[in-house]
Symmetry: C2
Subunit: 678 residues, 2 copies
């Protein structure tokens, strides 16, 4: 019998010999095994649960005896009785090594737990939040060693947690002495680590061991929609998610109209700032209510947003963003007290982190997409498109990443479309048109049935068919093109040319009747020539931006396309490609990343190292300015054809053959275009 023993940890495989009697937690720490502990090994927090393995381990050439660990002790007994402990589990701080042993660290005992992101690409987030709680035992004051209570707390954090450079503001110092005495010099402190230096800010302090969850908000502040996730900062779980209309919409639908509002109305920027900050408080309270947690437990907020929203959130007049050279007041990431944003609904000591902006037109939301989708780590050439009122576009691979933004306008969100509406029950979201009969069928949000399925009317009775949302618009226009109702120039043919009475004359142009409920007092849902023009403008801007980046990169094709944004998640790749919104790639290479900007915000919330990472990546993203680039105009004009006047779409051709129709010789049919362009 030797006086030390071999300890092997799984799944890490780390191993070492330790003197008999060494607590498992201590062995783990010495080997750098990722085993959590909040109480520092005092048998209080139970974070260090481990599962010892007994018997034969041929892989390790080891037999583990039943007495390889010290006996189950009173602390574990009490813990199991009061709080519960899975059979076979031990507390790593209590169980001592008494012989060769194999010890498994279950995922929930790892500090750097990995959280599977619930989305198409299934990325994992490693937990390493900026804000965490630790339990610490502070030396009592001593008349002969007259250091202050705060200095002794800081010393204890250094000794027990190797945490140095702790700072506290006056609000915390005011509360310090009573809490230390109430907790009899044992306290749980909430610390926030800055990602730029080694400083830790003391955000809160509770007497004794305190297990209340620390929460964080990841917020994607869009021009139209504010999306937020309330996350548990211990394990990254999303406790509640919510969306809210941006209340600034009353000051202007798109960004430039808000900038104009600020320019035309003295104090207009202050009004908009107040509106969005109030919405943040409303959102925080709503999410906390939904998750049944007190909003004061929210200690961190992470924001991603486009430059105009960025400035309006921070209280900076966005006027410079409305004119060349589109100068940001600041482009770096920001870290400051959340109270500076008047976020009074959450913990008064809460911190805010704002991701860096890439340029005056390419914001922190695009940085968040880059953090989530990591084009900079891609081996193949990936195009990431975040579709919204502005499209943010990233192109690159591990060698180089380019970015631009393109003013698509709100057509993809259903605005500026005659029967357009936001995505809501009753909105048409899927469309098919029979290429022979030219008859449509469709589905609406809120029902799985197609419009020609039996029971459709019954199933949609509550809402009826109310309009067309963004993804529906894309599908109907693409289907019209595929069915020969629309020519490559974007003209709708007349009933005689197309061969269907659904093509109705409207002045000198034609509209396609998608749905007629007027007999029952419902709407007539038409796709007008004007709607087609609006979609052409939007998709041309998007394509031209992507193509400009491809020029800059020196490539004619990309290997894959990622569609991001809440709306991107619902776009049918085939229809997007028929429209020529995105460059031609094999259809299976087009994936949706959902709300990638929101995911990027969550990553930055859950992992402080990711903040350094995206700050570094942003420094190396090369920004291409569409507004001053002549080729952008050229690509834009070419892209107004469906799918494109000059670019071949060979992959698309393997899936669908677009009819070679042309309606622009019929005379007068192009009046719509001439009027719009005139």
């Amino acid at each position: 019998m030797t006086d030390d023993a071999l300890v092997i940890f799984t799944p890490s495989g780390k191993r070492g010999r330790f003197p008999l009697g060494t607590p498992v937690l201590q062995a783990a720490r010495q080997l750098g095994v990722d085993l959590d502990s909040v109480c520092g090994g005092r048998g209080i927090c139970s974070k260090c649960q481990i599962t010892p393995g007994y018997g034969e381990f041929p892989k390790h050439g080891l037999t583990v005896a039943a007495d390889a660990l010290s006996e189950w002790n009173a602390v574990e007994d009490r813990y199991k009785r009061i709080r519960g402990l899975i059979d076979g589990r031990r507390l790593g701080c209590q169980a001592k090594v008494m012989g060769d042993v194999v010890i498994d660290v279950p995922p929930e005992s790892q500090v750097h737990k990995q959280v599977i992101r619930k989305s198409a690409t299934d990325r994992v987030i490693e937990m390493d939040p900026a804000t965490r709680a630790v339990y610490v035992e502070v030396a009592e004051p001593d008349m002969h060693e007259p250091s202050g209570d705060f200095e002794r707390l800081a010393q204890a954090l250094k000794d027990q947690w190797q945490i140095e450079d702790v700072e506290a503001d006056l609000t915390l110092l005011r509360r310090l002495q009573p809490v230390l005495r109430k907790g009899e010099w044992k306290v749980t402190v909430v610390l926030n680590k800055c990602n730029h230096d080694a400083r830790h800010r003391l955000l809160d302090i509770f007497p004794g061991f305190d297990e209340r969850p620390l929460l964080g908000l990841a917020i994607d502040l869009g021009s139209t929609t504010i999306a937020a996730h309330l996350c548990d900062l211990r394990d990254g779980r999303v406790l509640a998610s919510s969306g809210l209309m941006n209340p600034q919409i009353r000051f202007g639908e798109d960004l430039m109209s808000r900038v104009s509002y600020a320019m035309m109305n003295p104090g207009g920027d202050v009004e908009m700032t107040r509106a969005v900050r109030e919405a943040m408080n409303t959102l925080a309270k709503a999410l906390a209510t939904e998750a049944q947690v007190p909003p004061e437990q929210i200690y961190e907020t992470v924001f991603v947003c486009n430059p105009v929203m960025h400035h309006l959130l921070l209280g900076i007049d966005p006027v410079e963003l409305g004119q060349a050279p589109f100068a940001l007041a600041t482009s770096s990431s920001l870290s400051f007290p959340a109270r500076d944003l008047d976020l009074t609904a959450i913990n008064p000591a809460a911190r805010t982190y704002v991701l860096p902006c890439i340029a005056g037109h390419v914001g922190a939301d695009c940085a968040a997409v880059a953090l989530s989708e990591e084009p900079n780590k891609s081996k193949d050439m990936v195009l990431v498109v975040d579709v919204g009122t502005n499209a943010e576009i990233l192109l690159g691979n591990e060698t180089r990443v380019l970015a631009c933004s393109s003013p698509t306008g709100p057509a993809f969100e259903g605005a500026q479309i005659s029967s357009g509406q936001r995505a809501a029950p009753g909105a048409i979201e899927r469309v098919e048109i029979d290429p022979v009969t030219k008859e449509p069928r469709f589905r609406v949000i809120g029902s799985d049935l197609w419009s020609d399925d039996p029971g459709f009317a019954e199933a949609t009775k509550a809402t009826g068919v109310t309009g067309i949302c963004g993804s529906g618009i894309i599908e109907v226009v693409a289907e019209m093109r595929a069915a020969g109702i629309l020519d490559a120039g974007g003209l709708i043919g007349g009933p005689d040319q197309v061969g269907t009475a659904r093509c109705l004359p409207e002045g000198r142009t034609f509209s396609y009747l998608l749905h007629d409920a007027s007999a029952e007092g419902g709407p007539r849902i038409l796709v007008t020539q004007g709607d087609i023009r609006a979609i052409q403008l939007a998709k041309s801007a998007l394509y031209a931006g992507a193509r400009l980046l491809m020029d800059e990169m020196g490539v004619d094709t990309v290997d894959r396309v990622t569609l991001a944004g809440a709306f991107g998640a619902h776009i049918s790749p085939k229809h997007a490609m028929i429209l020529g919104m995105i460059p031609d790639v094999p259809l299976e290479k087009v994936v949706s990343a959902g709300n990638a900007a929101g995911t990027g915000a969550r990553i930055a919330l859950c992992n402080v190292a990711a903040r350094n990472q995206i700050e570094e990546v942003v420094r190396h993203i090369h920004k291409v300015e569409t507004a001053i680039e002549p080729r952008f105009q050229e690509h834009f004009v070419n892209a107004s054809a469906i799918p494109n006047a000059v670019e071949p779409f060979p992959n698309l051709a393997t899936v669908v053959t677009l009819p070679d129709v042309s309606f622009n010789t019929g005379g007068g049919g192009d009046g719509g275009r001439r009027r719009r362009r005139g």
Copy 2:
């Protein structure tokens, strides 16, 4: 003729050879000569004025030709015409080296100007303020290099001033863009350097070159009096000084009664905090008005104060300081936004620095005294006594420094004395008693005449003789002892024992009639047995504290004594030693340092390196706790005799022989003592 030349700077003596055409400012910078510049050498600020010397310099073996510098140029001409320039002066950024030359840097052109402190000890303060202004030219925004305006400003500060790690809060970021554009990308920024790391905070920004003075407040926040200096942060000049009664006096005269108030009245600490912060705003406004400067130009405040005032200023309940072990909430120095103290009268971006506390009873005021008097740099053993309601005592030399505080009570400030009053016109401040006739003569504040001088009544008519202030109390008691009116035990003799009708019976004790104006309706000013007892308690506490430090240091004598505090400046060393307030030293070794705590605050305001210095010194000051030290009681009892029951006062004996009288055998005469001690 060579293509370089020798440049010698005076008074530094630094020298080097430089290519012909090198601007003098550039040569100075390369040699590390302390030559100021705010505009970075652009001929705007005129801070770099120099005086070239021409002709023979035998000391340097050099003859300077008349054309050793480039010709007077248009920039200098314009500057001289508009702003004025002393004859013989040149602008260092304009004048170029054209031959061997000797260049004098006048004191006002040095960055690290030295300011002579106007006090007995004439210490100098080297200027190196935390807050300063620099002029900087910022690159304009460029669509192809999309960094934010703030990032380009930070880059300019790095390139033009070698200032890195610049931070700005949202308030500043909000103002940044319009100011940069108004100044056409030339701005003056106010920066505050943290003494703990390399960070610079951007406090303010002005378009173009802005010369407005930056101001700072050095505040000695005492229990009774708040003393403040308004200083110009460019050259350290005191623009205005003011004192104000601490409005907290209405909550309790001394510190412990204020702690009691906080303990007995819920929210009492908040009331006191509010009162003192309001007073700070009043004081700031009054000083700015006096100096005829806008209070918004105050960018920094430095506070020194005792621990209770420290906590009440910071908004921390001082309850723990009222009971053993006298734990401070925090003992370190603090640096935070002045707005956290509700200092709304000054610049909203202003910073506050609070010196570190030494212990629960020995505060930042004592640290400031240490910074001003530097016992840690003394070769001989120095005792520094800051006399106030509490006495702070430092003893040491360059090897070791000890500190304690001793509760002297307010007797030295005229409180608890029957005819006592604060130092104000009409108060008796100097006393002599004829040892033969026992007749007194005295002087009052506001007149240079003695009471037996002709014209005294006329000279003091406006105020009359109103009472006795602290220094007068010390003198009259010491003079009574020297004249044999008082015995060593502190008893006043009766008229028969002393031989003067001025000793009046008061119950079973006697009082000495110092002045009687009752015939004219004025006061009778008596020194009662109770007054003597109050002074005995106070001086015993002071002496016992000093003696305890001497014990701890292992010395029986000190080499010199420094009396600090506003009151200390007025104490007569001889009388203090007759009383036995301070240990026996040669009289010429007792000096007054005036308000040393206030001077320490000024030093920390004007020199950021001094902050590190005092923080380091405080870490090495050993604190001795009087409250728990049995020898303190012993020293206290011995010191209640005048001058002392056991300690010899050999130096005092060379100056004055104290009569060997004793009145405590007369029966009943000691009743006063027995009653007080009972």
